[in-house]
Symmetry: C2
Subunit: 513 residues, 2 copies
């Protein structure tokens, strides 16, 4: 190990081949030893087994590459909660596609860094194209350039603000509907930033709103969201030094328009313009997969001169599906949209995006560092990439996404979305048909809340922890106005009815009597 | 492609094997076609070639996995700036080790998410152990628990604040020197957060300081740094809603103690306590690799009741090396330390860390989300991971780091550090010995600034862009008080004297006459 080989260059692949063989063997052996969705025994036992398998973390003298890979990858696989197992269905934690994981290897080997062109010539070009294509799914009509500098919504006078058409025709994406303006060019075209996930995307959505407000108002931005919004909205407000978000009740799981209307009206004390406001809506809540009524909320944001951010980290990929796309009607009216292909997109983490109607809207992120984007370099034609992230060094997460889009095409991704949502409907049917179980509500996306009929909160929490401790199933939990529920977040598109039947049986078998 | 296989489970490895074969072939073919450190022709040509190779980004019908991998990975490799080529030496952009890239594949396949135990049982245990080991390199004496809640430095009364011993004995790390207190336990032990890189680590360092100040002062935190500090310090202050940092001149490339002393004195208007202050020092600047005089700056922070953050993203791994560790004397006196193993650590991006003297110092990041860390789950023994990052879903970047530490051991990493710093010294010697070239200064780490003797700024910038455009070399640039210089940031430990001689010849050949 005195001269461990590098991954790159023309010789790298030959150095990698035997190491990858060791990794694949250890992954298979670890998965077989685990023999279920997660290891049994709970946190203490898992930590002990890993320590025993792996030995000291930082030995004085190395063990060599194969030994290190064999022991640590085996330990990780044997101790994984593997979302490829249909009984691992707690969280928005997807089983990645093999082709996406394979593509991600190339990102690690080439190691481009997305903060300057001379570290990522092809990677930056691929990111630019892919980000635009994905943003165009969200904003198929583009954004009229005239509206950004006012406080009205991105739906300018060029189109009716009340048009509730689905977000874009299936194809061809290049053709706008007859009533929409021609697709804009350059800085007026839809664009997206690649992020580490929904949390960073939400953070950037709030940051862009903060900066937009900052140039126009003396009062700080006020974030308004439902109780159903993701916790990252709150954390982002704290991070950015903004006041705590105003949280509106969502007893039915979505943000009701009349609730938002009342709140926005109340924010304007008589005789004052009120603070600048960002409304955060959700297209696919973490607890139930519910989608807020986007067209009505967009109308209200328009009326009250508020910005609109939609967190579509979970629901966004319905844009691929002809069947389910109508659920996202109104999405294109948001100023910023969070997407995340490491949920319903089957990517290894990280694969987040923040879409905007026009590249120009990203201007507040512009940033200079003389060693990365000196003026004379930019003038000489070297692309300035520093304003495309708050990170500096940045992995090309776009490669696995681009490989997936190309390999599967829109229809292939639609098929996976449709299969996954169908599995959730099947599971809801099974629960509904079973007298011993109670269904919370029909699923919107792929989240199903259920519990043994009449189970109290303690019972529900106990079932979940028993299943975890015994290594039998990974289910989540959701606290709602009707108490605590078991949460199955189905993200494995190959889940069968048998898998779901046996999952229900496992819950029965672990219910305290 | 109707049912593209998943990466996980016991069947995943067999599905991956042929796909990885395609990836390796495409990486080799792309590197051979490129035939140099980067593609020739500049941004326009690279984008065109990629478009031609890859075809449409989001076709209606997919091309299948092998075709997508072959074309896109080939395009990325043919269009890469590959740091495994010794003439690709512009930035802190390292060539990853093959074993680290192989380990990272397992992270993508298993796809654990580090925000809850039930998504990452073994991965969270591995992260906890590895983070503590790396933090212990920075803080070999731990942190006296009594000091955090006051405004003095983490060097409490238990030890002399002026001890300028190197940061930790080479081994065994478990034994503290005789004058230090016993290594503390639990929440009082050194710890580290895993980040996306130095930028996020710096952001977290400022955030922890902001929150620490917030509970004790009415004035906002004032960040004080040298002109040599990384741009991310400024960006973090903006993000966090803090006043702009006070920037002190660094005409010699490092922050002089008398300059800091004067500034800290001036910040306290007579009769007032002055604002809470965070001093940001740098151990390895981006422009020259210089290290600020840490012991003297730590003394001043002590004296003035300021916190100290050290950005050791570049220099931190000198802790592995018996030869070079003394350069980091005083590092352990910082409240927070940025490390980054995707620079002198040969990891694929991302591999950042923020080290703190004690886990308890991370308390301001505590965060609740009922679905991830409900109180009853935490009481029942499920680890609460949400306070270990501002991200929610999070890739286990620790796996590749742990594999590298185990495979190479401390001495193996030290050898790579020593080789890399030796290459920089060799390059400086070659420049010094060559009458046609001018050396800026002897290198501290692995950055060498040079230029053709007498070259003006325009000439230097032109040479760099010519080398880029012709695909011959990737060199950086550094603006200093003595004008613009070519920057070689040597991170390839296998760089030979011949490589460096030919790099100098390339510069000569591309100098305008």
């Amino acid at each position: 190990m005195n001269t461990p080989p590098l991954a790159g260059g023309a010789a790298g692949p030959d150095a990698l081949r035997p190491l990858l063989g060791t990794v694949l063997d250890a992954l298979r052996d670890g998965a077989e030893a685990r023999g279920g969705p997660l290891p049994a025994g709970g946190p203490g036992r898992v930590a002990t087994r890993l320590r025993e398998a792996a030995g000291p973390v930082l030995p004085e003298t190395g063990s060599g590459a194969h030994e290190a890979l064999r022991t640590l990858v085996y330990g990780m696989a044997e101790g994984a909660a593997d979302p490829a197992d249909p009984h691992c269905a707690a969280h928005l934690h997807c089983p990645p596609l093999a082709l996406a994981a394979a593509a991600d290897l190339a990102a690690a080997v080439l190691n481009p860094s997305m903060d300057s062109w001379d570290q990522a010539p092809a990677a930056s070009a691929l990111e630019a194209r892919t980000a635009r294509e994905l943003a165009a799914l969200v904003y198929p009509y583009g954004a009229p350039s005239c509206t950004y500098d006012s406080d009205v919504s991105p739906n300018g006078p060029a189109r009716s603000p009340r048009t509730d058409t689905p977000t874009g025709p299936a194809r061809p994406l290049e053709t706008a509907p007859p009533e929409a303006p021609a697709r804009p060019q350059g800085n007026d075209r839809p664009d997206a930033l690649v992020t580490t996930g929904g949390t960073e995307s939400n953070q950037l959505g709030l940051l862009l709103a903060r900066e937009h407000a900052h140039t126009r108002h003396t009062e700080p931005l006020r974030v308004v969201c439902g109780a159903n919004a993701h916790h990252s909205i709150h954390r982002a407000a704290w991070l950015l030094g903004l006041p705590e978000p105003l949280v509106l009740p969502t007893p039915n799981g979505t943000l009701a328009p009349h609730t938002l209307h009342t709140a926005l009206t109340d924010l304007r004390h008589p005789g004052t313009p009120g603070p600048p406001v960002l409304v955060c809506a959700t297209a696919g809540t973490t607890d139930t997969g519910a989608i807020d009524p986007l067209p009505a909320l967009a109308d209200l944001a328009d009326t009250h001169g508020a910005r609109l951010h939609v967190d579509a980290a979970y629901g966004g990929p319905l844009l691929f599906s002809d069947t389910h796309r109508p659920l996202l009607t109104g999405l294109h009216r948001a100023h910023t949209v969070t997407l995340d292909l490491h949920k319903l997109g089957w990517q290894p983490v990280a694969a987040g995006l923040l879409a905007v109607p026009a590249t120009a809207h990203l201007a507040p992120l512009a940033h200079r560092a003389a060693y990365l984007n000196a003026d004379d370099d930019t003038e000489a034609g070297l692309p300035d990439l520093l304003g495309r992230s708050l990170r500096t060094t940045r992995r090309p997460d776009v490669l696995k996404m681009a490989v997936t889009l190309k390999a599967l095409g829109r229809t292939g991704l639609a098929d996976l979305v449709d299969r996954t949502l169908a599995a959730a409907r099947t599971f809801a049917d099974l629960i509904d048909a079973h007298p011993a179980h109670e269904l919370h509500s029909r699923p919107t996306l792929s989240t199903v809340l259920f519990r043994p009929a009449g189970a109290d909160d303690t019972t529900v929490a106990t079932i979940r922890r028993r299943l975890l401790h015994r290594g039998r199933a990974v289910l989540g939990r959701a606290a709602t106005p009707t108490g605590l529920w078991l949460k199955a977040t189905l993200l494995n598109p190959y889940t069968t009815t048998d898998d779901l039947t046996s999952l229900l049986k496992l819950v029965e078998g672990h219910t305290p009597r």
